[in-house]
Structures are given as structure tokens and as C-alpha cells.
Symmetry: C2
Subunit: 363 residues, 2 copies
DNA sequence: CTGAAAGCGCTTACAG
DNA sequence: CTGAAAGCGCTTACAG
């Protein structure tokens, strides 16, 4: 795929005169102004703005005056000052590698919803799976004094977990268990086991089944591999180490691994368990360029994407329960209990083709 | 597509005893502690932490002591207090409808990089295209006193623009021009024109070309429609209003619109310009279920997705220049000039198939 | 019922 | 070279 810039457009559609530097001051409206205009004390104004005026027995008439003045002035409390004073930031952080697949995008969107429903402002940081960025993002979020930090898809969660512990930030890991933090995980072993079992249905004795993607020694990958091997063993297949390709998460790496496997063995295996949607992306482009090599190949993928599900490759996909994963994180947060080292498991779901209910997502 | 939960997994893998409530206090380390341990004044400690100690002629030895103490204590400045004092939040906000397509995910990721490289903490809010959420997210970001707000994919940017103006927040719109804000836009007309021209190549006289997706009266949609119509006219095709289907952004709606068109006309048009990747998602599932209806159909899409690009549908895709769009936003921010009402245009790129450079994205 | 005051954790002119 | 002090904009016991 080559990108060609084509249309040398005029740089500007409309040109208005330069309006000069923005006045950054803009005379910020503070609670002091609000009190002055409303003719009340600052505390009264504060009580009204925080809806605690009844508890403080402010008269309804005073409250009314304050609200009217606030409307008039366009007054909005300064979130930082409030956070500083109260010792709570009302911020909730999420760390993900990136946004560009359905799993992490789904985590992000559901996280935002959960945070907002609790009156927290969601802050999402993506790290590109770069350890330097991971550290930097974590430190930034901690410096913002987030009240909750959800960590997904980082290389080394334990450093982040310790940082949080030091600073009193409540931290939960998604699919990254560790001793210093509570964790919510997908049922990786069970999911891979089930996918592999379905892959084997109807395959002849002695059929070969490969495993593509993921990182050796990584929590999720190893469990999925275990599920895959267990299913093979159970059905009498010999697990074949040579077709376990833990090539990482890059599409290109998965593509290269497939090509190498094909060239060495003379053919692709009869079936393939793909460990991530990014590896599946490499497989998809490989299929596009060499469809003949996929004749009869059955594929299962430990992740889901709506376009991938439309490809004419014989594929079953598994959808991780993004909502469930995030909900468990917030439930843990809500209880206020530490539970370091504990793991809660969320079963994934199989995405089964059914023409009656088309495979779309609402926008 | 039906989701089936399958593996009733045990709820917990490991059970440790409840560790009780987290001590939320955790004795936060402040600059006061730092100064005490280092044996300096608070201001000296502050100067050292802000790397302005040389300007203030703090001795190198003192600076060293402070740094050592900071390490020892794990001291990190409280971002809120600093922001409050300095009158700058070091926060940069981005509003997008969601993360789950490559365009918005790309905007988000590039925005994060740009913000970080300027020492700003990125905060991204997604709105699900819900006006209530749009308002709420904008108000939240403004209450956080973000120094920059980039707005993309909202229904009514002008309310947000005005809110920002009132509060002195610098605001820039992406593909949403308005009088109250500077805007960066894709060359929608030019992109659609070029896509349509390529679509027409080799098509017979009198071939029909449809337009699918987007919202009537919406800025980007109308410009793309204009480019499409101009290209049709130029090549002697009559623009046919009945096959302009501005059915919104939901995949299902696009699918339904296609089906309706097919049933009424007895066939799909010879070619189709698809206005968004979400509409293309509806088309993809429709293709999956009725591939025979796509025989000979040529498709062009005003957006790109790696899996979509692998589908065996005769498709050319356009990739908006996400990096360019975001870069222009930050450049505008950097200059500090208002430029309300001005528009800067960024040309998109065509994604041309080329087997030599496979269509992948790095992970 | 209301107001004056302390203080959250910083930064930064200012005075030594 | 260093320190005491003011103040960012709030909230909240506390005293009237």
C-alpha cells in the first residue's frame, strides 16, 4: 500500500485578517466575583455551587441569587483549586498501548462511560508499547493524582503498580496480573481452549494446527498457548512446537512468520489459532496477496474486528468482554478494598456468524 | 453475529485475604518535606525541581542535596497545586465521537504525541455523537482549564467554540469550520472529486454511481457530495439524486439503505462512493451476505481501514492525513494567534494497492 | 442562618 | 546566594 498525495489544494479557503495574540487572561471569573455580584459571602456562594446549601441552612432566596449570578457571569468553579483543597482530583486514568483496534478502543470507550457515571474525568494515555512512554504516561497520571488507574497492555505493570502504591493511587491491571495490584483478566486459557476445539471439529486426524502471534513469556500469550495445547492433546493431536509462532504484535511480523512457515514446510498448516487482532491483520494482508495458500485453512482469532469478520477466510473470532472487564475494575474501585494479588476472571464470548443478525456495530 | 458466552469460568483464580480499606492519606510528600530533608528553604527546593536553580544562583551543592532528597522521598510535585499557582494547567483536550475507527484513533494517537512533545498532558473525551455528552465533555475539559481544545466530529461545534472563547480556552476545530474558531479541514471536495474520477475510469457511458453515507447539511458530507457531483458532471454523467444516500454514520443504516436501493432499482449501481468507514462497515456486511449483488461493482471510500482494504471488493480507499491535520492544529496553537473563522486545508492521500509494500500498520 | 479565616501545595517576586 | 511571604481559587470547620 503506497500513499500518494494528489490534490495540491490551496492552503487556505478563506483568509481573514490576523486577529493578534489571544488575551490569555480574559479576566477569569472566580467565586469571589460570584459572591460579590450575588451579594453574599464567599462561603455561601460555595455552598450553593456545591448543592450543600440546605445542609448549611442557606436561605432559598440567597441560593437563588447565587445561581442567577452564576448564570449571568458564566461562572464555573476552577477544577484544580477545588481538587487541591479537597484532596481529591476527580480524575481517573487509563493506560493502553493504542486506540486502533476494537479491543483497546472498546476498553477506552467503556472506561470513559464508567468514569463519567461516577463523576470522574477520564484521562486516557496510550503508550505505543514503548517502555519509556509507559513510564512517562504513568508518572504523568500519578502526578495528576488520579483517583483510579487502570493499566492494560503495558510491558511491565509492576513498576507502575509500585509507583501507585507509593503515592496512594488505586491501581488495577487488565490482563496483567501481578502481586502488587488487583487484576481483572480475560479467561485466556478457556477462550483459547474453546477456539482450538472448534478449530479441530471436522478436521482429519493428524491435521496440523499452528499458533500465531503474541509474546513468549507474556501472561496472556502463555495461557492461551496452554489452552491451545490442552485442546490439541485432548483431541489426540500432537502439539507441534515448530508451528508455534510467537512473533509479537506487529502485523508485519505475523506476515513474515507465516511466509517463513509456508516456505519451510511447503504449505501452511490446516488450521491456525491467531493470538491477537494485530497478528490477524498481518494474516489478512498475506491472504490478500496469496489467497491460494489459504485453501482449506481454518482460522480462529482471539479478538474481533467487524471488517476482519467479513473476510472470506474461514474464521471464528472471539470477542473479549470489554464491558465486563471495565465493569469489574470499577466495581473493585467502588468497594474501596485493596485486594492486591487477587485476580477476577471474565469469560470472553465467541462471535458466531448468523446472517439474521448482521455483524455491525452501532456508530 | 450472535455472541455466545461459553466457558463458565471460576470467578477467581486466586483468593488472598481481604487487605482492608486502602489508606487514602498515605502521607503525601510535599515540597515542605523535601526542603526539610534537604536542609534548604522551600523556594530553593522549588527552583531546583523546576530546573531554574541556575538562574536563581542556587549553589550546585544545594541543588544536588535537593535532588538526592527528592529521589529518596520519591517526591513528585503536585500537578494541581502547580497549575493553580502558575495559572496554566498543562492540559490539552481532544473531543472525538469515539475511538473505534482508524481516523479518530489516529487523531487521538497523534494528538497525544503532539501534546506530550509540548509538555502538555493529553485528555481525550469521546462523545458517541451524543449532543448531551458533547456538551458535558466540553464543559469538563474547560473546567480543567485545558490550554488547548481540539474538536472533531461533534454535531454543533459553535456552542463549544463560544464556551471556550468566554473562558479564554484556545480552541481549534477539525473538519468543522465555524466563525468562532480556527479550523483545520481535510480537502473534502478535492478528495471526493478524485475518488469519483478514479471510480469512473473504464466505466461505460451512462454507468450509475451512487453516494452512500454521511449526514445531509453537514459540512464534510456536503463538500464531498459536491466533489462527487462535479466529477460526474465533468465526465458527462448525469448526477442521479435517487442514488445519493445520506443515511448517517451507523453501519446498519448504510446496510439498510443499500438493501432498499437494491430492491427498488433491482440492482446496485455500477459504482459507489462511500462517505465514511462506518458506512463502509455496513457495506462490508451486506457484501458478505449478498456477494452476488456486488458483481462488477466498483467502490471508493473516503477513509481507510487495513482490514477493509483486504476485502475482495474492488475498492480504492482514501486516507485522511491524520498527522497533517493534528500538526496544523498544534502549529496554530504554537503561534498563539487567534485566526477565528480561518480555515487551513490538508490534502488527503489515496491508498493505492501495491503488493510490494504490504498494507500493514506497525503495532 | 452567615462570614472571616485557615489551608490544600505549589511558584515567584521581593527583600535581605 | 537564600528565605519569608503572598497568593492561585477553592472548601470547610468554626465562631458568631
Amino acid at each position: 500500500m503506497e500513499m500518494i498525495a494528489f490534490h495540491a489544494a490551496p492552503a487556505r479557503e478563506r483568509q481573514t485578517e490576523c486577529k493578534g495574540m489571544v488575551k490569555s487572561g480574559a479576566k477569569r471569573v472566580t467565586i469571589r466575583d460570584l459572591a460579590r455580584i450575588a451579594g453574599t459571602s464567599i462561603s455561601a456562594a460555595s455552598f450553593v455551587m456545591n448543592d450543600s446549601w440546605e445542609r448549611h441552612r442557606i436561605s432559598a432566596e440567597t441560593a437563588q441569587r447565587v445561581r442567577r449570578a452564576a448564570d449571568e457571569l458564566g461562572y464555573r468553579p476552577n477544577a484544580k483549586a477545588r481538587a487541591l483543597r479537597r484532596g481529591r482530583s476527580s480524575l481517573a486514568g487509563l493506560i493502553v498501548p493504542h486506540h486502533r483496534n476494537r479491543f483497546f478502543a472498546g476498553l477506552a470507550e467503556h472506561f470513559e462511560a464508567g468514569a463519567r457515571s461516577r463523576g470522574l474525568v477520564p484521562i486516557i494515555g496510550s503508550t505505543q508499547r514503548d517502555p519509556t512512554v509507559e513510564t512517562r504516561v504513568a508518572e504523568t497520571l500519578v502526578a495528576q493524582e488520579v483517583e483510579l488507574l487502570v493499566v492494560a497492555g503495558v510491558g511491565d505493570p509492576s513498576r507502575i503498580n509500585r509507583l501507585c502504591r507509593e503515592r496512594g493511587v488505586r491501581c488495577v491491571n487488565v490482563d496483567l496480573p501481578g502481586p502488587d495490584s488487583f487484576s481483572v483478566v480475560t479467561d485466556n486459557r478457556g477462550g483459547a481452549f474453546e477456539l482450538t476445539r472448534r478449530l479441530l471439529r471436522g478436521l482429519p486426524e493428524g491435521a496440523t494446527v499452528g499458533f500465531l502471534g503474541g509474546q513468549a513469556d507474556e501472561y496472556a500469550t502463555e495461557l492461551r498457548l496452554d489452552g491451545y495445547r490442552t485442546a490439541l492433546k485432548e483431541s489426540g493431536h500432537l502439539s507441534d512446537g515448530s508451528s508455534v509462532l510467537r512473533c509479537g504484535y506487529a502485523p508485519q511480523a505475523a506476515r513474515d512468520a507465516l511466509d517463513k512457515l509456508h516456505n519451510e514446510a511447503g504449505a501452511l498448516p490446516d488450521a491456525l489459532l491467531v493470538n491477537s487482532i494485530t497478528a490477524f491483520e498481518g494474516l489478512a494482508t498475506y491472504w490478500r496477496d496469496h489467497p491460494e495458500r489459504f485453501a482449506g485453512l481454518r482460522v480462529a482469532c482471539f479478538d474481533w474486528d467487524p471488517f476482519a469478520a467479513c473476510l472470506p477466510i474461514d474464521t471464528i473470532m472471539l470477542r473479549q468482554d470489554v464491558e465486563g472487564l471495565i465493569d469489574r475494575c470499577f466495581e473493585w474501585f467502588d468497594t474501596g478494598i485493596d485486594r492486591a494479588g487477587e485476580i477476577v476472571m471474565v469469560p470472553p464470548q465467541l462471535a458466531i456468524e448468523d446472517p439474521a443478525t448482521p455483524n455491525t456495530t452501532e456508530e
